[in-house]
Amino acid sequence: MAFTATLEQIDDVAKITLSGELDASTAGIFKEEIEKVSTENFKHLVLDMGDLEYMASAGLRVLIFAKQKMGSYVDIYVIKAQELVLDTLEKTGFDQSVIIQDDYPG
């Protein structure tokens, strides 16, 4: 399945919906959306990973980039992550830098 990253903005919340496989060949697409978000004043960034099937090192790099670029002022929510992706986030410790939830109440 081709990778897509779709950005929505609702008030002070930015939501990026990811689908497909996030690897070195697609991470750039994700990073562009993160760059857009980082220039505006959002309170929360919600990453909907419900349709994300796989994440490689390059994808993790973008997440780390997002966390460090936005600093501690923006809470990052990872929602609906599938088992494989969740497992990767846990093993690499990124689960500690973000808020992992089933859903974002909105």
Binding site: A24, A27, L60, R61, I64, Q68, T88, K91
Partner: protein
Amino acid sequence: MVIDRIDVHPTHTHTTPAGDTFKLRYGRPFPFGATLVPAGVNFSIFSSHATSCTLVLFKKHAPQPFAEIPFLNEFRIGNVFTMIVFDLDYENIEYGYRMDGPFNPQEGFWFDASKIVMDPYAKIIGGRDVWGVTPDWNDIYHHRARISIDDFDWESDRPLEIPDEDLVVYEMHVRSFTRHASSGVKHPGTYAAIRDKIPYLKELGVNCVELMPIYEFDEFENSRPNPTNPDETLLNYWGYSTVGFFAPKAGYAATGKLGMQVDELKTLIKELHKNGIEVILDVVFNHTAEGNERGPTISYRGIDNKTYYMLTPEGYYYNFSGTGNTLNCNNPIVRSMVLDCLRYWASEYHIDGFRFDLAAILSRDAWGAPLANPPLLETLAFDPILAKCKLIAEAWDAGGLYQVGSFPAFGRWAEWNGKYRDGIRKFLKGEPGLLGDTAQRIQGSPDLYAWGGRGPATSINFITCHDGLTLMDMVSYNGKHNEANGENNNDGNNDNDSWNCGWEGETDDFGINMLRRRQIKNAVSILMMSQGVPMILMGDEVGRTQYGNNNTYCHDNDLNWLNWELIEKNADLFKFFKHIIAFRNAHPVLRNRDHFRNHDYVGSGYADITWHGTQAWQADWSESSQVLAFMLCGKHAKGGTVEDNYIYVAINMHWQSLGFSIPGLPSGMQWHVFANTGANYPEDSFEPGTEPVLADQHNILLGDRSILILVGK
């Protein structure tokens, strides 16, 4: 107005035969390795004798390179080849080099441009991404350098800097710790799994883990079918044979196949630190995985053989490591690499300390002769980045250099105290004439270290380590049983100083099993009551056995894996270990920074340490005596700077029960029983703080081969 820096723009191009054009620029010689710079990757590598160098680029896992880019003449400064390649998909590539130059092994030259060699500074190494997956032996490039992005979020973490004398070290093998099915973790045998087991380490009470080698190694180095068991492939399991010094072992990471081993390991270290546990790495700088003349060319041999290795005048490899070659550590270039490496691990991975395998080799010159002031050891001792790191030497090598007590310390280096291990083992098994030696070991070996102004924490005290028998085997076997290693029991140390307590191997004999358990408790009691830094071997706290095998370097199975069911099976041992470690942690008088002075310098009426026998105040130092007792004055704890309880330890290594008269305490204090290894579980030890008052404050009958520990308060 912000103007683009002109030095981030390409100045040259290179077009490959396939028609791809790469944009290039003269690189920066420092740092060596592959480094991300604006819009590109800076490659820098040195070779003293290469005549030309070509960068070889692969897509990840691809069998053939997609590009080869020669370093132009103007891209070489001195002996360093350096260039920036722009617009590389750095997440997705692997790189290597072809080095051309003379091939003349007698002269020490092994250049062969038909081979692709790995960057010695590679920060991630692919090729053995998942543990135990048989490699493609026809691969033209086995160990593949990748580019690491040092973007880990450490938050407020930094190395813990626990004072040396307060450490309790737990030596473990990453895979062995959780590989056994009984571990119950999600990803057995990985860095991530250790993280899951941090509560266990905390319960045990250790505050430092020493990881057996985690620098990238090849578990398939010299792999072979086991001649005694055709179903088993013998591996380079322990990993004492480094492929790359800057890269973590990918096969130890659950995320190795995704290339995230760096993140996984850093996450483990961060989490250990959060729980007050330091991380020491066992580092192997004495040799590499390239072996001798018949070994593979992975990196160093093909880049700068004469620089990296100690060579005989005929061009053969010196073998002070017992493994084929010897890294030429006191060569200024190699010395710099070692320093760069340790600085990288200290600063980028927040490593708390290093234990140097066969460190005596690091004090030899290029021809193998020991140096009075080895520049490498001095450099490391005085380095500002390593200033707070623990530096621990295994102060001997396979070439016969034994430096326990005399390792060139420069005020910094601690030592694995081999004399502690050997002496205490002999004392435990009841050899006569060891009281003087034992007293020295218990005091932090002042006979070895005080003369050089080195404190007790110089001495890493241990009775067992990965080399040799486990503690359970030390009391269950008189000799080694290494048949499973496929070398007719010829490998491994013959001097085990072990005693089987009456039967070789496992037995149902109740009396023998009781004695073994007592001896285990005696061993850890002496270890934890000794000044210096105690180190325990993974699994000894639950009676792990290797069935008498004292050299399990090649087994990926139960001989090495920790069986977590032992926690229940040997609950008495586990509880004793927990208690005695907690007791040590609770009592600063056991963790002095300076040696005892053997007199009363705080006016308490007691010397800092006093010696006793079956009669209080009368130690029997005679050749035939097997009794030793000592008392530590709590007012002298940490040189009299903190107040602690009094501690009295009576050791009866005689085969008969003996009565002891106990020294009196200052008025108002009473002796309480913390441990008596001669008592039955669970009365053999108490949780610190809950020790019962000793019924008779003056006399006690101590069982045969038993240790009594009292606390006066």
